[in-house]
């Protein structure tokens, strides 16, 4: 194959290889990774050898860039960059899309069963100190950054807070919260809502939509304290010998029609103006959070790599997970 691309399962159209080949004559091989962390580990240990294009969330793209493992985006070779919202070309971790191209973006909030929850939640505290009726029926994301973000935001801090004292406060809050928690879950939380095991879950907007597909009473809300902006990006490996082809691939993805596929199928917002505008309005009707504008989204704070503070986050999360 001309290109090896690693992505999450189901994150691209199944027939991407055929359509891309039809468009460019190039062959691609898509492999899947389960999580950012795994593919990161593999890229770091293997110096990225063998991979050409990788889909990772923004903090990981940032790290890869710091490690000097990414190839610059050749703007000339990706004319479809023009389809992106201006906001998407000005993201703080990579202003001007020097080494990454955003693929999807969204935020994190509360996903809940409006038919079960007595009062509609609007605060992180509804999750962390739930009312009696939903005690033991809440879940939180297990991944360290989002888990900590809930605590930090509830306390009014930045999702990238590096002050150890504040991290500690958030940690303590989260340890308290564990007592009323059903589980930490970042894969099947939406089905827990559907089945009724959970009533209120900590969720990425897009995944809440999967729940909504099956139960109309499921709703998504961004808490009043604010939230994070996450971006899943496309990067090209420096060690790739097929950088020109990789640019063609990115350009192909950024084509309005192709990029719209992501929005329509994985129910994530895409930072592609042309694609978003092509969406069926019914989709937004059914999944209200799909209608969030770039302006709304960029109000939220981008998750950034934490540098040395990462150690404090890791330790805090270990302590939370070990608490009983």
């Amino acid at each position: 194959a001309d290109l090896v691309i690693s992505n999450w399962d189901g994150y691209m159209a199944k027939d991407i290889a055929e359509t891309f080949k039809a468009a460019t004559g190039l062959e691609i091989e898509v492999v899947n990774h389960a999580t950012n962390e795994e593919v990161m580990g593999k890229l770091m240990a293997g110096q990225g050898k063998g991979y050409d294009v990788v889909f990772v969330s923004s903090p990981f793209a940032e790290i890869l860039n710091h490690q000097g493992m990414l190839a610059p985006i050749d703007k000339a070779a990706v004319p479809n960059l023009a389809n992106l919202y201006p906001e998407a070309a000005a993201l703080a971790y990579d202003p001007g899309n020097a080494f990454s191209v955003p693929y999807t973006w969204g935020t994190t909030g509360l996903c809940y069963r409006s038919d079960v929850v007595k009062t509609a939640p609007d605060s992180w505290m509804n999750l962390l100190q739930p009312s009696d009726d939903i005690k033991g029926k809440t879940t939180m994301l297990a991944t360290d950054r989002w888990l900590m973000a809930a605590g930090l935001l509830a306390k009014g801090y930045s999702v990238n807070e590096t002050d150890p004292a504040k991290i500690d406060e958030a940690k303590n809050l989260l340890i308290e919260a564990k007592k009323t928690l059903l589980a930490y879950d970042d894969t099947t939380f939406y089905s827990k809502l559907v089945s009724g095991e959970a009533s209120l879950v900590h969720a990425w907007d897009g995944w809440c939509n999967y729940g909504i597909t099956e139960n109309k009473d499921i709703k998504f809300v961004v808490p009043k304290e604010g939230s994070d902006l996450w971006v899943d990006t496309i990067v090209v490996m420096k060690n790739s010998e097929k950088q020109a082809e990789a640019m063609k691939f990115i350009n192909f993805i950024l084509d309005a029609k192709n990029h719209a596929w992501a929005a329509e199928n994985i129910l994530y917002k895409v930072p592609n103006k042309a694609a978003m505008e092509s969406l069926d309005p019914k989709l937004i009707e059914q999944y209200p959070n799909m209608g969030m504008s770039p302006a709304e989204l960029t109000k939220y704070e981008l998750l950034r790599d934490l540098g040395d503070a990462q150690k404090d986050y890791s330790r805090a999360v270990s302590e939370i997970k070990a608490a009983n």
Partner: protein, 287 residues
Amino acid sequence: MAYQTTRPNMLAAPAVLWLLAFMVMPCLLVLSYAFFQRGTWGGIEYTFTLDNFAHVFDPLYAKIFLNSARIALTTTVLAILIAYPAAYAISRAPRVRQPMLLFFAVLPFWSNYLIRTYAWIVLLNREGLLNGFLSFLGYQGEPLSLLYTETAVIIGLVYNYLPFVILAIYSTLSRLNPELMEASRDLGAGAIRTFWRVTLPLTLPGVAAGGVFVFVLSIGNFVTPALLGGGRFQMIGNLVYDQFLTANDWPFGAALGMALIAIMVALLFLQARATSHASGERQGEAT
């Protein structure tokens, strides 16, 4: 024994070379990172430091170690209690049927770990089959919330590692000289005392091996605690995993890994000494 003094090393050589080349060398490479610093943006900064080892002694990690050791130990004990009678029954079945029984004991484990675990979720759910079965039996109370508890984690671990213990115990039971048990009965010991004083000590190496399997696999497991435990329980394997992948802190991961390996090897040495003492090793077979 004269004729064996040179040969044992030759027999061990292929495995030893394999391990030296593909385990020891690579691991030394990675574990040596423990003496360096994490770069601000991940990666390794080649500045010598012992800080990582100092952090290993954080009481938090001791707590996690002890807690996961407790779960692993409970799992181990339960697995042995279930596996022993099963292995015993298999070893007493007609000899031609034994391989088949063993095979059927491991067959479920040729499906996939994740899907078996998901099947357990289906079973243990509040709305799941187990509760359904209970209410079918006439149980009226609140459905049992088994899922996302330590119990669920232990059930999952016992389930997945049970066949390993069965195999290990069977392997020592399979050619145990039945006359030894007869001699014990003859001397006035009932079936139970015969088991405790003769059968068990003679099969202790198998029990120990199986126990070690369950223990090391459980303490290093992170899928079951995440899925059946709802991520509420932290196993020690998880901790090392997080350092390498989530925190991108290889130096500390290496230090933790080293400490873990050292503790486990030390424990295994102690265990080996204890069982070889209790089982009076190497003897006892008649044709």
